[in-house]
Point group: C2
Chain length 478, copies 2
Amino acid sequence: MDDDTGTLPQKGNFSEWYNDILWRAEIMDVRYPVKGLYVWYPYGFAIRKHVYTQLRNLLDRDHEETLFPLLIPEQEFMKEAEHIKGFEDEVYWVTHGGTTPLEVKLALRPTSETAIYPMYALWLRSHADLPMKYYQIVNTFRYETKQTRPLIRLREITSFMESHTVHATWDEAEAQVEYELTLTREFYDSLCIPIIISKRPDWDKFPGADYTMAVDAIMPNGKTLQIGTVHHLGEHFSKTFSITFEDKNGEQKFASQTCYGISERCIAALISMHGDDKGLILPPVSAPVQAVIVPITIGKRHEDVLAAAEKLKNDLIAAGFRVKIDTRDMRPGAKYYWWELRGVPLRLELGPRDLDAGKVMAVKRTGEKTQIELATVTDEVTRVLGEITEAIRVRAEVHTKSHLCTVASMDALDAALNEGKVAVVSWCQHKGCGDVIEEKTNASILGTNARSQYVSATEGICIVCGKPGKATLVGRTY
Amino acid sequence: MDDDTGTLPQKGNFSEWYNDILWRAEIMDVRYPVKGLYVWYPYGFAIRKHVYTQLRNLLDRDHEETLFPLLIPEQEFMKEAEHIKGFEDEVYWVTHGGTTPLEVKLALRPTSETAIYPMYALWLRSHADLPMKYYQIVNTFRYETKQTRPLIRLREITSFMESHTVHATWDEAEAQVEYELTLTREFYDSLCIPIIISKRPDWDKFPGADYTMAVDAIMPNGKTLQIGTVHHLGEHFSKTFSITFEDKNGEQKFASQTCYGISERCIAALISMHGDDKGLILPPVSAPVQAVIVPITIGKRHEDVLAAAEKLKNDLIAAGFRVKIDTRDMRPGAKYYWWELRGVPLRLELGPRDLDAGKVMAVKRTGEKTQIELATVTDEVTRVLGEITEAIRVRAEVHTKSHLCTVASMDALDAALNEGKVAVVSWCQHKGCGDVIEEKTNASILGTNARSQYVSATEGICIVCGKPGKATLVGRTY
């Protein structure tokens, strides 16, 4: 959409690289004339489609998709006290229809508890209706006053998956929290994004939750990005919105609830985790184009090669791959640059000599070249795409592992953070010591109960007060 | 979600039938606490998913999907004079972020021309970029003051497909209008919904269009429902938003544009056109469950029959069908009623005697019973579902044809409209005569250039003034 002038900054300058890759690879256009609102280019939207198809496939195992209204009447929005406190500064209000002031102000959903739960109160009657597990993928709105960033901090979150479940007991809801964490792990695993799960400290939990489990990824600059949260809501909302059911003994009980969210930050993580100095690197599952065929037609074998390339494309499409053929009138090198920038996992170069040998050159975006047989090309492409996925995964794991460490003192913590690392420390879980840790290091306590295969989280003494503590993740965050 | 108390009104009482079917078949919940906003139940949302997959597949042939912001700053929204006039009374305005008044008011898109075209002005540079063909499927908002109706007249249109194309010349844009009409015909044909295409009179065209082609369906009560529009925008918006390109001679030219919309009214038409006194009838392509298996397990062959039913389900799912098995502890009759209400096209009844004979009873929702061989069941189900689609199509065509006629006088027009018909008359195309027709018959001029295979549209003399006229559709509309 824009002329390819200049070059992509090196990924070492992550912030510049990120801003640049978004338009160079045609993911988001940031020139929309309202702060914090961005436009999905078709290529970016195609990535989004494949990523959200992954997410839907996982959720559809035991949730059902629904759709609730965007506009929430003020009286519903204002019902749950903690929830209001958490959101009131950042809610957009619709006050007029045409030139007429509305009788009841309408909030643009910042999240949909207060839109969905009045309906759940109508839907739930008996224990036989439980559990209820519904989700929706919608646009939500936050009047962000901090610096906005495409895909990361938005005023319109365009792609918010929110799941809302209802259960007979607190324990069943807790089991659902665990289940949704496994879904989240499976989702990010399919995108080759290593995650760290932890339990947010009380002051950072979702407004109206008993507790919040959060999922973070470590970005290239060592900052963590929260890319998913699962909340145990207990009976906070069921009491506010009268979500009750008749149990087996004929008694009315309040239900226990969970909610669970993933936004387009999953795509910010995808781009950031895997890209390199040449551009995007997309795991095949998320790539709008999994393989691009570049016919090399120097001289007289032009028609032969084009016909063979066309046949190759059709064979691969018939086998279920997403494939394009690039016949533009450009130098091959310029085409390679173009598709590498856009993260296409596999390039297939086909010239007269390859054709004569019954082969095609397979160039992985992750950096290896091999010849593969045309006769068995669909099997070979399956194999090579699998190898690319593995290479992407390993690279992301190495990055994540190298940015995690365990430290035992404030000085060591500060040093680790300054090296761009996320550290496990021992903390007594008192707010006072938490404040000391956060203020002295200019970092955040991500959470306790850290779950990561990349770092050990053993208990020790609090690095502030010396009392018994719990393993706690500390990092600088987006 | 609700107890199945009472019975569905007869379809002859269409308005009551429509309101009732929405909750009985679990499509929409109308109890959301804001007028004109409704909730998609999971089953309704699944229908929506299959219908919009059809639409996306058609559009993706030569359009690309994108996503633009919901919020439009006042200064952009107010740029095109005719457009504003058409929408200013029904735009919702966001005026506050938190408790802070916004510096610039933000409109909730009623349609996205003014969100998209400032970006098109940036994207378009040269003739080589043309044509541009993008679409999005989004929620849009209208502050409706008329009576609202689920899926038909909404304050939040949840599922608005809007396509926006840009072309080098007016004629190319005209050709695109025709192409999008063929896409629309193909879309509705896949849903077995007969349509009538006509050119709306000037006073009813899209605000800012050169002309509007509209697509109507005739509902069971004879009223027409507009279920799609394609607009030739000429250079109205390209001049307002500076959407220009350098042509082959190096000159800057204004582009010509089209836009094209289909909303969830397509689902209102689907439900209304095909349903009957027993409930929904879904064409297989749109059915969340295409076949339901009901095992009949009286007596001792219980396990055998259940195992065979399970195998049947797995075979059909493996062949790509959407299938459920109903093993609930209910009488078979109650199960039949349940699935008929929800419009499942095919019921497969499997009992011990069927099993012994290697057969299964196939009951079409359109009303025939035949035994089919288990040995060739996937082929047979393909065939039977095809027959069901055809039966649905024929029924809808008979309905549409019987509600169309040609008349030659005001009296005959009035009589035809009172019989619930849509009539073709001859009209001189002057507003004065148009007003007479509309006022005297309490109906609307749908449009000229009527295209329908179900009624002839020949020219004659205007039924008001007697001067030469053009064939014109007149009907009572939603």
